[in-house]
Structures are given as C-alpha cells and as structure tokens.
Amino acid sequence: SQWGEENLQALSIQEGEDVTMNCSYKTYTTVVHWYRQDSGRGPALIILIRSNEREKRSGRLRATLDTSSQSSSLSITAAQCEDTAVYFCATDASGSWQLIFGSGTQLTVMP
C-alpha cells in the first residue's frame, strides 16, 4: 500500500498478469484520483472515483473505493509493457485547495 512519507514501493510482474495497487488515506475525501507518471514526465490522471462510487472501470483499469476503511485500489488487467510507470493515488481534503499524493508504486511489466 502507499501513503505518507514511505519510500516508493515497487512491483514487478510479467506481461499478461493482473496487478492491484492499494492506497490508504487519512482524511475524508470526496474523490480519489489515480495518476500515472512516466519516467521524466509529469503525472497524468488515469481514473477518478467519487465517494459515492464503490467501483469504476476504464478499459483495463478498475478502481475501487471503501470509504469506511479509507482505502482505494487500482487494478490493471492483463498488464502490458507500456503500463510500466509510477502510479500515485491522491485525495483532496474536503474544502481544501490541496491535493495530497500517496508515496507511489513503481510498476514494472516485463516481457
């Protein structure tokens, strides 16, 4: 799982496998963002799940949200080499200007 000041976590899988990354957050949020960051580039939003949703799908991506445990997950089905990147979850403390990012997960998909 990712959060806080922990160092970047790393996952390494084979192409075609499924993978799930987890995220825990500390304060109430109205939405959980998942961003992907390719090496040397800025992060980009890949999926967003609202507090009234338990699951959200987009192509091979699936996000879940459990507000009672303040946790979210991002799953990638049949991962491909081009899915190699760092994945961050982020939340916004309600009423705040601040988007708080998790510590990130470095996903490496090997051929």
């Binding site: 939003l45 200007w97 601040q98 990012f101």
Partner: protein
C-alpha cells in the same frame, strides 16, 4: 484545448546561486495554479498555489518563493539554492473535481 509549458526543461546550478523557473498556461482563463516538488523516487509535495494574479499561498517552507505576475504565468524562485532543492519541479492547473493537469516538469540539479 489547454496547454501548459514549463521552462527550462533542466537546470544544473551551484549551491548559493539564484533560480527562476517558469510556467505558462494557455487556453484557460483565470486558472488555479500549483507548484509541486518531487525528490527522485519520491512523492509529490505541494509547494504553492495561486487562484489569481498577485496572490500566492505557501504550503511548505523550503526557502523558495512563488509569484503570479500574469493570469497565465506562475514563477518559482529563490535567491540562494541549497543542495536540498534538487529534484523535479512540476507546475499544474486545477480542473474539475480538483483534477490536476501537470506540465512536463523541470529537472533541477544543485551541485
């Protein structure tokens, strides 16, 4: 379509020297703008945000300052660089549901 441009792409600077990084956004009127810093292998730390020209709020104190001289421009600067300033600086504008759209970033190495 909105575009965000950061300059320079990379900088190598000496400890104690000044720094100025820039960010310009086009195609978005009165954007909310953000500066984030990322250490190598680290998460994204919000530094500053600005909701209008001339108004900047600081989130963390890192001996850096920011200014918003124009509606579409956000500047990050310091008069005296420290080794700890090394990292990746990212500018972003805020869209709906607090989604952040990042620029390509500036890689800073302080020697």
């Amino acid at each position: 379509a909105q575009t965000i441009h950061q300059w320079p792409v990379a900088e190598i600077k000496a400890v104690g020297s000044p720094l100025s990084l820039g960010c310009t956004i086009k195609g978005k009127s009165s954007p909310n703008l953000y500066w984030y810093w990322q250490a190598t292998g680290g998460t994204l730390q919000q530094l500053f945000y600005s909701i209008t020209v001339g108004q900047v709020e600081s989130v963390v104190q890192l001996n850096l300052s920011a200014s918003r001289p124009k509606d579409d421009q956000f500047i990050l600067s310091t008069e005296k660089l420290l080794l700890s300033h090394s990292g990746f600086y990212l500018c972003a504008w805020r869209g709906t549901e607090n989604t952040l759209y990042f620029g390509a970033g500036t890689r800073l190495s302080v020697l």
